[in-house]
Amino acid sequence: MSKMPLLYSPKVLEIFKNPKNLGKMEDASVVAEAGSPACGDIIKIYLKIEKVDGEDTIVKASFESYGCAANIASASILTELVKGKTIKEAWNISWKQISDELGGLPSIKYHCSILAVGALKRAIRKYYKDRQRPEWLPEEETPEEKQALEVERLIERLYKGLEQVGT
């Protein structure tokens, strides 16, 4: 396996230096996270949702992140992207969009933007858990949600496998 240099775009470094919408949100409508400490990657997002012109709209978003620079930048850019969007619009944000907004992530870091989208989709699902599910929200898990879960599971499997070897 050839090693790829972890060359970040200047945008990733800029956001790493000055992330936007950082920190816990006390009055969040919904909170969700993706990843695990074992993966070395967690993105936790906080959304404040209100009705604007009759539509459920994200009026505020913030994040916390445990992970590499790509992870922090993905989470930060996501909170900027969703702010002011209806939940329906936010649901359609793809990991590729996040990577593109960051000036292109190195391929080995795609999973960071996949996790960011995973956390967002999880938050949206959670929000509608006790509410009427809107028609646009698919009942079944979408491939992107599955992908985010897969990243988590993959690393956890690796971790458990190694723990067994160690004992």
Partner: protein, 408 residues
């Protein structure tokens, strides 16, 4: 993606301290100046050719062998074989012996924390020749228990490869004892030790240790990259692992890198001048950095042993609740250059096998940072590093959703 733009965004910090001597050397001016004539003024010929620049090159090659042989108490300069790196020397040791034993079934014994150039070479031998590779576990500080080691010995073991000092966690292994155990079982077993991390920081004698093959590397002692060496005790037979025109070294074809070898020798001379003083200085700075981190940053684990059985230049700690790659970048922005064994920096999404072997959990390995101390560092460097480590860890912990008891 433009590197220039990335570097512009990074900027040049007001002060810079380079601690990443594990991954690339800082080569001091004296060493560079010593090398320069050998590019175009003197000894720039091929040492195997019969003309003046060739003989000059041959002359300095021999001088370098003599000097290095003396520093490890080898019997003859002929026992020093130059390669172009420590990785190559490790490959020559493991695969060279494996090739010699290709027709027999047999076992290679390595530890769980070897450099990957030993681990992967052993695995390759298994794939090519069907040799069995046995991996000896280590304890939580990276030490091999002699009794456990003994349990891995048998008549079919033809090669043992155990590092003198671990490159990540600085564990100093008792090689002499392990050699004795191995040779008691089978006097014909070949014992290789990768001493790239030990050389010029610990005094050792190949005769006293009883080892057959020893790896040394220029880039680990402030020499340039492009030069490594394998000590091959007289009488030990191994086969070359790469093929090509033989120059002086029969075991490593290709033209010798004379300027790098000259730099290697100069770097060794500088390290062995005032050896005790240099080591004492490194130990003081090492302890100052490690104790400073433990005093000032909560929730830190030391990776590797404490005290006299830790290499004088090694500081490796895990900062819990932060991820190592983010920390290397945060520290880089502050002019402190370190490396991490986190999965994110490995490009393979798996943390270091060394940290996992000493029982670190994934989340503990992810926050690991390796500092290599050198005699070129000063107390001011350490103080500057400490101040910035405290702030950098604090900042990343503020971003992190997982927090320790103390932080909540």
């Amino acid at each position: 993606m433009s590197v220039k733009e990335l570097l512009k965004s990074h900027g040049t910090p007001p002060r810079e301290v380079y601690f990443d001597l594990e991954n690339s050397p800082f080569v001091p001016k004296e060493v560079v100046e010593e090398m320069l004539p050998y590019f175009n003024k003197y000894g720039y010929g091929n040492p195997a050719i019969t003309h003046k620049p060739g003989w000059e090159a041959y002359g300095v090659l021999l001088e370098a062998k003599e000097f290095i042989a003396k520093t490890i108490c080898a019997e003859s300069p002929e026992e020093i074989v130059f390669t172009h790196s420590g990785t190559e020397a490790n490959n020559l040791a493991v695969l060279g012996i494996a090739l010699k034993n290709r027709k027999r079934k047999g076992k290679i014994v390595v530890s769980a924390i070897e450099h990957l150039s030993v681990t992967f070479a052993a695995e390759y031998s298994s794939k090519l020749f069907g040799h069995e590779v046995a991996v000896v576990p280590v304890d939580e500080d990276g030490f091999i228990d002699p009794e456990i080691f003994e349990a891995y010995m048998s008549k079919d073991v033809f090669l043992v490869s155990i590092q003198t000092v671990n490159h990540e966690i600085g564990t100093i292994q008792n090689i002499k004892e392990l050699v004795k155990i191995a040779k008691d079982y089978n006097p014909d077993v070949v014992f290789h030790t990768d001493a790239a991390e030990a050389y010029a920081r610990l005094r050792f004698s190949v005769k006293d240790l009883g080892v057959d093959l020893v790896t040394l590397s220029s880039s680990k002692i402030h020499g340039p990259r492009g030069a490594g060496a394998l000590y091959v005790r007289r009488g030990i037979e191994l086969e070359p692992v790469i093929r090509g025109q033989i120059s002086v070294e029969k075991l490593w074809p290709g033209a010798e890198n004379i300027p790098a070898i000259v730099g290697f020798k100069k770097a060794a001379e500088l390290a062995f001048d005032n050896f005790e003083e240099n080591v004492k200085k490194m130990k003081n700075l090492r302890d100052m950095l490690m104790e400073g981190i433990l005093d000032r940053v909560p929730d830190v684990l030391v990776n590797g042993p404490r005290g006299n059985l830790r290499a004088p230049d090694n500081v490796n700690v895990s900062f819990l609740y932060v991820e190592g790659e983010a920390l290397t970048i945060e520290l880089s922005l502050r002019g402190i250059y370190v490396s991490s064994a986190s999965a994110c920096t490995s490009r393979m999404l798996e943390p270091s096998h060394v940290l996992l072997a000493i029982g670190r959990k994934y989340e503990e390995a992810h926050g690991s940072i390796l500092f290599k101390i050198s005699r070129y560092h000063s107390e001011e460097d350490i103080n500057y590093a400490l101040e910035n480590i405290v702030e950098a860890v604090k900042r990343l912990r503020e971003i992190s959703p997982i927090k320790g008891v103390k932080n909540e």
